[in-house]
Amino acid sequence: MNRCRRFLNNVVAIAANGFREGVRDRILYVFFLFALAVIASAKLIGWVSVGEDIKVVRDIGLASMGLFGVMISIFVGASLVHREIERHTIYTVIARPVGRGEFILGRYLGLLGLVCSVTAAMGLFFTVYQAVLVWSGAAGLSDVEGGAVPFPLVRAQILIIFQFVVLVALAVFFSSTTTPVLSAVFTFLAYVLGHMAGWIYRFSDMVLDKRSVTVFDRAVSLFLKVLYYLVPNLETFDIKLRAVHNLDISNFEFACVLLYGVAYSAAVLLAAYLVLRRRQL
């Protein structure tokens, strides 16, 4: 019980500290304000997009939530653990009665909290902005699918925010294994490739899409299928395309996606812990 309380206390302390670190970082505000500017200027492109104004506004809004979220994860998160090791700040933390698992979890939750609250703020701004466009009738001539605030749009934003559960876990993992620059590159690649995951599935079918299929082709196809289930699949969280058309997903699917995020990031964090536990700092 006592150990449990200490665990929680340490994790919360480190997370709060990490959150404060991010909040006091000027780059955060640069990204945040830039994101708001992009979302607000979406209407300009909406004007020239014959009859699809609100779709363009929603596309830009959702895409910038994800993109700026990942930027913040990278610029704040890439050097997360590495900088602590490099500047020896981790020593004074580890020298306290703090386990390395608590350290990793705390750093993870701190950054996650930061990224989530910033993207949530962007999402709130975006939702209100597009709702105002719809209400005021500035959204164009086409009848707006789903009204001012369609539920799927909210759900899509929840999942965009939730994808950072996985992405930040990956950032922490990379940060505790490589240098900040490599870690930033890896994190961004994970974001891009994670969204390509569906195409891995597609390519696995395309391999078999020919006249004579050899054993080798089958093996490649199987390998790609297995790969599809193992790579960090951020496309799972991406229901943007459907949400802008007011198409909802089932609650079961939603629950599966949430479960996936939690389980996958737990696996990644455990891996990060395994790496850092044995690491000579």
Partner: protein, 398 residues
Amino acid sequence: MKKLLLPAAALACLAAAVAAQVGVVSSRGMLGIANPIYRKHADQVSRAEYVTSFGMYLPKGDFAFAASAFLGGLRADAYWLKAAQYVSKSFEDPALKTRFLGDLYIAMIRIDPWWSSAAVTASNAVTGVTNDNEQAVEILDRAIRVRPDDWRLWYARMAVYLFWPGHKSDAVRSALIGASRPGASRALLDAANQLALEDGHYELAVRVARRRIKQYGLDSALGRIAWRDYLEHYSRYLEHLLAKDLEAYRQKHGNFPASLDGLVADGILKDLPPEPYGLGWIYDPASGAVLSRGLGTLEGARMHFILSFCVTRYYRRHGIPPASIQAALDDVKFTAKDIEPVRYFGNPPSLVPHPVLGDWKYDPATGRIELGPGMDIPHIFRRADELRERLLSGGKPL
């Protein structure tokens, strides 16, 4: 043992993640995961000739599509903007209307299969540019597979079939399914009605007309038009039924009955249905032809309108009225602008006698075609309105 605990826990988490992913795959289906659409056409997009003067270059090919997956619909939006530029440019320079335009729209729905507007425009572009109706329907069907409830897709599908000779029943079907979708345009039923009639589905036309009346409400302006159509279609339907019954009678007895009551006497019909306009049936025992007086009047009035139109046209060209109606018709050559007359008469229009009055009474001196009292369109419509008011005030129309 304890050493293995953590890796085991990590693997267990991974297993749970895979299980969750399987759940997502099963509920999302192939489309949500990968978008295998338009593999057939994918290469066309990359092969398409890009006109760089528009200044919007998008990397092409499968990998570019995959790598930009995280940008969601933005890429599709870019294609949309580009296509819009193309369309506006193509008014000035029709040469731009290449296959490329269709490919642009296909690229859009390849990225975003849920984008109905893109699918609709894609089908329009494909039919308009290349006349490839099959591909247009394929595009729409794929979109319908992911968004079966979107009436716009059905509307577009109907439109494709509409201008595709020999596919009128498909058009009717699309229009009817579309009309049953939430939020559907009410014009879908109107179209379905007209199409069903043209396709010879009289019973269906009557049913659709009833639905239209219900949809608009009998007391509304549009309901009034629907009611007129209903009467017309119902008359035609009954004519059609009676002709069949008469044919059955002839098969049995070798000749047509002396009057329509003969059908009832013979037991083929229980009752003789009243003529919908309440104007009675016109029956010719010799030929077995049966005709609703109301409908005949209406059609005759319409023919009269066309024939008068032809005569007037002759007069304008030659300065004198034609010697006969036929002369006027021979002189006339309908163009694409005159779609409506062609529908009734063909091109050149053929001279058909008035259904009720028989041969046309034409005066070559004045150039007037005599119709007689009570035989014009306003009159028959007034009759329809009378019946409607009777129905609205709680009575029976007949």
